[in-house]
Each structure stands twice: as structure tokens, then as C-alpha cells.
Symmetry: C2
Subunit: 284 residues, 2 copies
């Protein structure tokens, strides 16, 4: 039986030749257990994750600019569960070391600046993990799909995104990008649920229905953006998301792998432990 391992999550890497049609959004690659097994699997690395994040945070505190940071970019169609995925994965962490930034419709002030202006305000600081719920990719997705920008501008933005992610990397920020890939059919079920449940009404936006008419254009825009910006220093992973719990598990396993590869030690003491123990004893 397939139990889902970190390698299974890593196998969701998109790559330069990514074809969106090759991903079945309703599948659960690497996992064939039931819901209970999924729940158990989901928490497998929680203790390790907690320590990995604290170690990162501690390095930020002790070494400042020399410590790494992490940026998690989450993209997905409406109702793909970006918010829930972030919540479930980041809740393991110390909120003092983690920030979630949601990017909605740009404000007037934001529109007066280059599209990366509002993004770069949130560059992850040393020791920090930042998650983007939507991101700079919206500027080559919704804007392209609706033809609010021409193809020349799309090309310029793709280059600017590549430069930006390379710049982050040069500053010690590990970048990981996730596309939560939902099927059109599953989105329909999710939208219907929002019209049926009292606790979901507030999430329903009638405009989401109109957006469904652009589904195929969105998929083409995703495929192109992913192909052109998937790099080893800023990889894309495409996670089948009709099964939300599977998607959250895969996301979490990818974060475990990323944090492990930072390969951080606890900071060395910047004091003499013996001397300090004596000072503490003498202080009373």
C-alpha cells in the first residue's frame, strides 16, 4: 500500500516541460489509503517541523542577515483551498516566525506602482517563513486571461518575476511555489456548497461563477507561467487538490523537505555557559 513519502511529494515537481493536462486533479499520487490514514500521515512530521522552524527562527535571531529565510508561494483557482492549506501547515509553527500575506485585487495606490511594488514589501526577513496566498503570479494569470495587459507586458513581467526570485535567492531566501490544482468539476461542488451552508455563505462571491467561463484560458496561463519560471532555485510543484487533505499533506511534506535542506544547526552560544551559570547563582 502506498503510504505517501517525502519523495512522493517531490515527484510533483512541474519542470520546464510541464503539461497541465498530464495532471489528474482528482488523483492522490503516492497515496491510496483512507481518510483516517491520511489524518495520521498528515501529522507524521509535526514535531520535526516544529523544531526545524524554531531552528530557522533561532538562526535569524543569532546571525541576522547571514540566516536564511523561506518564501512559500501558493496559487490556485477559487475554492482550491489556499487559505486552509496555509493554515493547516503553518499552524505547526511559531507565529512569531511566520507571516501569511494575502494578495487581493490591487488598491489604487498599488496600481500606480510596478506590479512587484506591493510584493517586495513582504520580502522574508532572515529566519522568517512567509506564505503568499496568491502572489505576483496573479499579474500574469488573471490579468493575462482577461487581456488587461498585452502579451509584450506579460513577457516583461515574466522576466521581472524571474529576476525577483533570483534576487531573493541571492539574499538567502529559499523560494518554493505551489499550484493547488483543482478540477473544474470539483470547483463546481465547492461553489455549490458555499450557497448551501450557513458557515460558508461569507466565502461565496457571485463573480467566481463568471470566472469559470475563462477556465481553459486560466489553465493555459498557469501552464505557461509555470514552464517559464520553474527553476531549481524557485521550483514549482503542482498538487492535485480535489482531495484537500491530500493536498495539505503534500504541501506539508514539501515544507519538511525544504527546511531539512537548510541544514541548520542550533546557534552556538555567544556567551560562556560556565560563567553565566555562576552569574545566575550569584545574582540572588
Amino acid at each position: 500500500m502506498a503510504k505517501f513519502k517525502i519523495e512522493d511529494a517531490l515527484s510533483l515537481r512541474a519542470g520546464k516541460n510541464f503539461q497541465i493536462d498530464s495532471v489528474d486533479a482528482s488523483a492522490t499520487p503516492g497515496f491510496d489509503g483512507d481518510k483516517d490514514e491520511l489524518d495520521a500521515r498528515f501529522t507524521k512530521y509535526d514535531d520535526e517541523l516544529y523544531e526545524l522552524q524554531e531552528r530557522l527562527f533561532a538562526n535569524g535571531r543569532s546571525y541576522g542577515e547571514d540566516a536564511p529565510a523561506v518564501l512559500i508561494v501558493l496559487q490556485g483557482m477559487d475554492t482550491s483551498g489556499k487559505g486552509g492549506a496555509i493554515r493547516h501547515v503553518l499552524s505547526t509553527f511559531d507565529p512569531q516566525g511566520t507571516t501569511t500575506v494575502g494578495f487581493g485585487k490591487p488598491t489604487e495606490e498599488e496600481l500606480e506602482h510596478d506590479f512587484l511594488w506591493r510584493i517586495r514589501k513582504h520580502d522574508p526577513q532572515p529566519g522568517q517563513i512567509v506564505a503568499f496566498d496568491r502572489s505576483h503570479y496573479e499579474d500574469v494569470l488573471i490579468q493575462r486571461v482577461h487581456e488587461w495587459v498585452d502579451e509584450e507586458e506579460v513577457d516583461r513581467r515574466i522576466e521581472a518575476i524571474r529576476d525577483y526570485e533570483l534576487d531573493l535567492t541571492a539574499k538567502g531566501v529559499k523560494v518554493i511555489k505551489i499550484f493547488l490544482h483543482l478540477s473544474k468539476e470539483a470547483q463546481k461542488e465547492n461553489l455549490l456548497e458555499r450557497t448551501e451552508r450557513e458557515d460558508k455563505f461569507w466565502k461565496y462571491d457571485p463573480a467566481d461563477v463568471e470566472e469559470r467561463a475563462y477556465w481553459d484560458k486560466y489553465m493555459a496561463a498557469y501552464q505557461d507561467a509555470i514552464q517559464r519560471t520553474d527553476e531549481n532555485y524557485a521550483p514549482w510543484y503542482v498538487i492535485p487538490t480535489d482531495n484537500k487533505k491530500y493536498a495539505r499533506m503534500a504541501l506539508k511534506f514539501l515544507i519538511v523537505d525544504l527546511l531539512r535542506h537548510l541544514d541548520l544547526e542550533w546557534p552556538a552560544p555567544d556567551f560562556d555557559p560556565e560563567v553565566e551559570r555562576q552569574r545566575i547563582e550569584d545574582a540572588d
Copy 2:
């Protein structure tokens, strides 16, 4: 056997006649079980808490300025576990609706402004929960203890704090203030641990030892600040904290009570569910 109930947490209210000597920092009022019972008790309200916070967030989204918000102020001596308490309580919540702000030593820019300048940047927005790890109270605690400000200035600041908290209340922010009350003996143990454990070194600050010489002055400053700023609209709770798990449980129960009293319904739909279901069905 005392199981710890919400009323037990509420009984930790300080009040206008608060005497710090009357609180035993090593006690666990209302609870006499063991560690396992404490762990079980700690998660008792998690599902409810999660829903209460989502409801608050949903109200913020749907009703904007008319929705309430929450400010949790956490104070305590070094090593009292403010960060851990915030993490353990807030991890139940959606990070998109919760922010933790730590206030360290003021920067030069901050010192050029009134002491509330850096605080008011973080006024909770509708639907949001903000936790302060240290706060405006430092300006009448550390600064008073070290006599960096005279008593006249302390009086002025206390009045400014009262005005600020009243202003927040008028804007729909529910304010709750927590003093995590650690004994001097327990702090010593915590400091020693930080000189002994590899994963704790980064938390050790030699300056904390010097601060211990001011312990009694700190307690007097806490007592005075609490007495003068405890109001029904901005109450202080003093939680014995030598047992950290107990303190976290008490904090969590206080938050449950506070959120329950917001008495929020799920927002009503701002659309016609029947019409929207038909639109969704027709869209394909």
C-alpha cells in the same frame, strides 16, 4: 477533583485592589490534576475556538468597520513564556485572521515619537485578533523601574494608556490583558536551562541576569499599572505561570470566554442562494 473550568480562569481577574503578593506563582488555581489531564483539558475547546475565530473573521470580511476585533496584551518577566503561550493558543486560529506583534527595545525612530506611536500602528482591524508580546505597558514597567522616566511622566503615560484602550473599545476592539506571573525562583531555573541546553542557548541574554536585581521594583510597577488600568472594558488577568502548561490553558480558556461573548452569528448571505445555485448549474 478540580478540572479547571472557564469560571476558574475568570477568577484570575486582577481588579482595582490587586495585590501581587496575594498571587502564588507556583499554584494552579482550579486545577489539581496531573500533566496528562492538563494536556487533555488544554484542547477541550479547540474545535469551538476554531469556529469562533472563523466567525469573527467572516464578520470582518462581510461587515467591515461594523465587525469587532480583539487585542490580547501579554506581559510577563523574562522567561515567563509569553511567546510559547501565544503560539499555543493562537495556533488554533487561521493565521490570516491573527497577528502577533513583539515589542522589543524601541528603535531610534520610535524613540523620537510618543510611546504609543509604534503601538497604534497595530490597532486590530475588524475581524482580526492581534496579540502583543510585550506592549505599551513596558513604558510604565522597565522604563519606570530603571527611572528612565520620572513619576510625573509615568502618570501621564498611565492616563494615555487608559485613553488608548478606551478608544480601542469605542472602535469595537475587545481588549484583554494578561500578566503571566512567574516566581523569581522559577525564573532562575529557566535561565539556568538556557545555559545548559543546545536548543535554548539562542534564547539566553546575559542582561536578563542583571534585570533580576530589580525584581521587587518590577513587581511593584506591575501591581501599580494593573491597579490603575484594570477596567471592565480592558481587564487584567494574572495567571500563575511557574507551571507553563497551566498558564497556557488558563489563557486559552479566557480567549474562549471572550470570543463567546462577542456573540457573533455567521454573516447572512448577500446573495440569493437559489439564484446562485442556478447560475452555477448554468455556467457549464
